[in-house]
């Protein structure tokens, strides 16, 4: 699925010599509806985290629209995800080809690639590839020699997690604070500049050339039926070979960590203590739950939110779970955009509680307090504008529930009087 590792894989010449832009030509010779149908048939579910079928998303666009805009979500900000980075760094033309196909299928005139501000080298690589594509006539007034016109721009973000949410991304593209919008109207009806807008993830678009070239049947033939197609899995933390690996969605977390062609086992003989299998927001697994399948459905059986970005971070047995709890709580505390009260207040209070627990002044009732805060933050639909508060509650809740004995033991072993001292100093 990718040309990663091939010499000069970022250049148009090498990409074309390996069969590049054949799929885009094929797609542009088809009717736009036929392209949408093919993608629907392939059951291409969004790779960005929510797993929403891309073809269905395109189907929401109003039939009588005159202008459509395509946003490519390259704001990969979920820690510890880096598969989009790998794709953009090593295979930018595949993304451009996917963008052309998606833009054609949705009849978009402009494609904006929203790239996070932390990506500098990747920005230059992708910009160069886009320039090459313009020069070759693959983008611009006459895409690949047809009458279809498409402009493609990179729009750089500036460090905000919430801009990976599609309406947050749209606000940010409009030059505003990246605070998500209330839905409906969904972007497909009224998005960027109040036009019908499609937002797709980099990895989703990178699948399109392969679907067009080899057909939907080839795609659905890979992996389980509800989670068709290959997927990029990231693994990081103290494993022997952290990195980004491609597989069908029937592998387990254990395989991802231990297989020699993947994570390659743990570093220096350490043991697994906990794994966040799908980015932080999805929640945590204990060492007993490593047989979870990395597909769109199975994570729910382990009280996780979903597959997420399929980026696993492994925590080893020497790391204090309180450090993990504090790190996770801190992340959401800093990244909440502040629009919805329960998210703004909830995340920052959870951060403070977690910090206190880590500093050795935890109280037993803090654990229930964390759970209660989490429960009140957005487990019910409609409580908050975007999914960030849900994303914040799942890891905190699963850490507290699944590692409660360890947290309790840690709190019990604190020196006497510490809690009182800290609380007194705070007041």
């Amino acid at each position: 699925m990718k040309n990663v590792g091939v010499d000069g894989s970022t250049t148009l010449k090498v990409y074309e010599s390996r069969g590049g832009y054949v799929a885009a030509r094929k797609a542009l010779a088809m009717d736009t509806n036929a392209v949408v149908e093919e993608v629907k048939k392939a059951n291409l579910r969004g790779r960005g985290g929510a797993g929403f079928p891309a073809g269905v998303k395109w189907g929401f666009l109003p039939k009588d629209r005159t202008t459509t805009l395509l946003c490519v979500n390259a704001d990969e900000s979920e820690p510890p995800t880096f598969c989009n980075r790998v794709l953009m760094e090593h295979d930018p033309h595949q993304l451009i080809e996917g963008t052309i196909i998606a833009a054609y299928a949705t009849r978009s005139q402009v494609a904006y690639i929203y790239m996070r501000g932390e990506f500098h080298e990747q920005f230059h690589v992708l910009q160069k590839a886009i320039d090459e594509a313009y020069e070759a006539g693959y983008l611009g007034k006459k895409v690949l020699g047809t009458d279809y016109a498409l402009e493609c721009y990179i729009h750089r973000g500036a460090g905000a997690y919430v801009c990976g949410e599609e309406t947050g991304l749209i606000e940010s593209l409009e030059g505003k604070r990246g605070q998500p919008r209330i839905k409906p109207p969904f972007p497909a009806i009224e998005g960027l500049f109040r036009r019908p807008t499609v937002v797709n993830n980099v990895e989703t678009l990178s699948c399109l050339p392969h679907i067009m070239e080899r057909g939907a049947d080839w795609f659905t033939g890979i992996g389980p039926p509800h989670s068709a197609g290959p997927k990029l899995f990231c693994v990081s933390g103290p494993v022997n070979k952290p990195g980004c690996y491609e597989a069908a969605m029937d592998i387990t977390v254990r395989e991802l960590i231990e297989r020699d062609d993947m994570g390659g086992g743990m570093l220096s003989g350490r043991k697994v203590k906990a794994v966040f299998p799908g980015g932080l927001s999805m929640g945590v697994l204990t060492v007993d739950e490593l047989d979870m399948k990395m597909d769109f459905e199975d994570p729910r059986n382990y009280s996780l939110l979903g597959l997420g970005t399929a980026a696993a971070v492994v925590v080893d047995d020497a790391t204090d779970i309180r450090l993990v709890l504090r790190n996770v709580a801190r992340f959401y505390g800093t990244e909440s955009c502040g629009q919805c009260t329960q998210c703004r207040e909830g995340t920052s209070w959870m951060q403070r509680i977690a910090q206190r627990i880590e500093s050795g002044a935890g109280r037993m009732e803090d654990l229930d307090l964390l759970l209660e805060t989490a429960r009140n933050m957005g487990m019910m639909p409609g409580l908050s504008i975007c999914g960030l508060s849900d994303g914040a509650t799942y890891p905190i809740e699963t850490i507290v529930k699944k590692f409660r004995p360890e947290l309790e033991a840690a709190i019990r072993s604190q020196p006497a009087g510490q809690v009182e001292a800290v609380l007194q100093a705070a007041n």
Binding site: R116, E151, R156, E174, G175, R177, S236, D288, V315, P405
Partner: protein, 209 residues
């Protein structure tokens, strides 16, 4: 999110000051506006450009950008303060951004941050007295497969080791792409000493089975 108050007793922008943005920068900002349906949408690219040229976005720069894009200076301020990558006051010549997300922290990111604080004599968000370095932390830099990592200006340094820091600081451009993995994981990290004595709920299984 952050709130910043302006001291209203003092004029923030000198109305008679010569224009801060050069003709070239202005033209470039205006060229961005053709990409979007509204002029305001060019704000983020404009802020990136101004910060890359001037090192920071000053009050006067905000006023001038606002005039170019037909919006209010407060709109520029509103957007700017949402994003962590823009700053309104000068920072050091080299801005060091240390990743503090979970992958990096488990593999010794905190030790890197502490070493940098000690070496430069500054705290987070501080700037060294000679104006050379600023130190900031940031959530995931998406370099988790090479943790711990940090950015110096635009250059991502992967697999950072403590004894490597001097070399990185001395020559920010040296290419360290194919560095071996950091040894920080096996050094005694600060966090490990806090490990409670009691056993975890289940560590009878190893990863090898």
């Amino acid at each position: 999110m952050s709130w910043k108050a302006i001291d209203r007793n003092q004029a923030v922008v000198d109305a008679d000051a010569p224009p801060l943005l050069s003709e070239g920068v202005r033209e470039k900002i205006l060229s961005y506006t053709h990409r979007y349906e509204t002029k305001r949408a060019a704000l983020l690219p404009a802020l990136h450009l101004v910060q890359n040229t001037l090192g920071h976005v000053s009050w006067q720069a905000m006023v001038e950008i606002a005039a170019l894009l037909d919006i209010q200076p407060s709109d520029v301020f509103d957007t700017l303060t949402f994003y962590t990558h823009f700053w309104t006051h000068p920072k050091g010549e080299k801005v060091i951004t240390v990743c503090r997300s979970l992958s990096c922290e488990v593999l010794g990111g905190a030790a890197v941050l502490d070493a940098l604080k000690a070496r430069l004599g500054i705290e987070e968000h501080g700037t060294s007295s000679d104006g050379q370095y600023s130190l900031v932390t940031e959530e995931c830099l998406a370099g988790c497969d090479h943790a711990p990592c940090m950015l110096i200006n635009e250059k991502l340094h992967k697999n950072v080791k403590l004894d490597d820091l001097e070399r990185i600081l001395a020559d920010g451009d040296n290419d360290r792409v194919d560095m071996p993995r950091s040894d920080l994981f096996d050094a005694p990290p600060v966090a490990e000493s806090k490990q409670p004595a009691s056993a975890t709920e289940d560590d009878s299984r190893t990863t090898d089975d």
